[in-house]
């Protein structure tokens, strides 16, 4: 393992990638990438995937029936609790 970032092997650079990407700095300016097409294309692909992910599953809202089911299930549970001795709220 070398301390000079430009002399990192691909394995060493790729081991650092999760932290590098997660730190919020622009990983594409890393010295290793100046001479490494392989890692450059890996990083570009990962950035493309992250970018494309923002467009996934747009506007998925549960239909009205789901809310109606939730409401009636909560009512049923409340009625059941009120009918069970010891579970009714204290007055």
């Amino acid at each position: 393992m070398t301390s000079d970032p430009s002399k990192l092997s691909c394995a060493e650079f790729q081991a650092q990638l999760p932290d590098l990407i997660g730190s919020g700095v622009d990983a594409s300016t890393h010295p290793h990438l100046q001479n490494c097409e392989l890692c450059g294309s890996l990083l570009a692909d990962l950035e493309t995937i992250a970018e494309a992910a923002r467009q996934l599953f747009p506007g998925v809202e549960p239909p009205d029936e789901v809310w109606e089911h939730i409401e009636s299930a909560i009512k049923q549970k409340d009625e059941k609790s009120a009918g069970e001795p010891g579970l009714a709220p204290e007055s």
Partner: protein, 154 residues
């Protein structure tokens, strides 16, 4: 997260029933939205575990076996994902991810949560969240490259 609309609706209902049951235990230690997400994610995780081992659990995703983990990229850059990725192809690849990877990928890249929020929701370290997200993206890259390669051959 579960890849099935009817199941997602059932889990939405279960999450709200749990919310109704547990709301009194919310002590304000975290933001309400984080607490609610954590509760909903626990409902999803319980369901995934109930469905058996065809899906890798979150725990297993934290320690994937070598054959389940994504490949590293030391070979020639023969095929790159240039330009825009087909949305449906990516959705299919996300649906095929092991459950633990899928969960973290959706929370971070699709829903926009930060690693510290995900770590709090899933009871894992921030480093773990970063590492699992990276592995999820690598697996997606493998899947999309394989698909592109297949299309190029036909």
């Amino acid at each position: 997260m579960v890849g099935n609309i009817a199941e997602a609706e059932d889990l939405t209902q279960e999450a709200f029933l749990q919310l109704h049951r547990k709301i009194a235990t919310f002590r304000g230690d975290s933001a309400f939205s984080t607490w609610l997400h954590r509760l909903a994610i626990n409902v999803v995780l319980m369901q995934l575990r109930k469905k058996g081992l065809s899906l890798i659990s979150l725990d297993e995703a934290m320690e994937p076996t070598p054959e389940e983990g994504p490949s590293r990229s030391f070979g020639a850059p023969d095929l790159t994902l240039t330009g825009a990725i087909d949305r449906l192809a990516l959705e299919r690849a996300v649906a095929d991810l092991p459950a633990g990877y899928r969960l973290i990928f959706i929370l971070h890249d699709v829903e926009g949560f930060e690693h510290n929020e995900i770590a709090s929701m899933l009871d894992c370290s921030i480093g773990n969240s970063k590492s699992q997200l990276h592995k999820a993206r690598l697996k997606l890259r493998d899947a999309l490259r394989a698909q592109t390669q297949q299309e190029a051959q036909t």
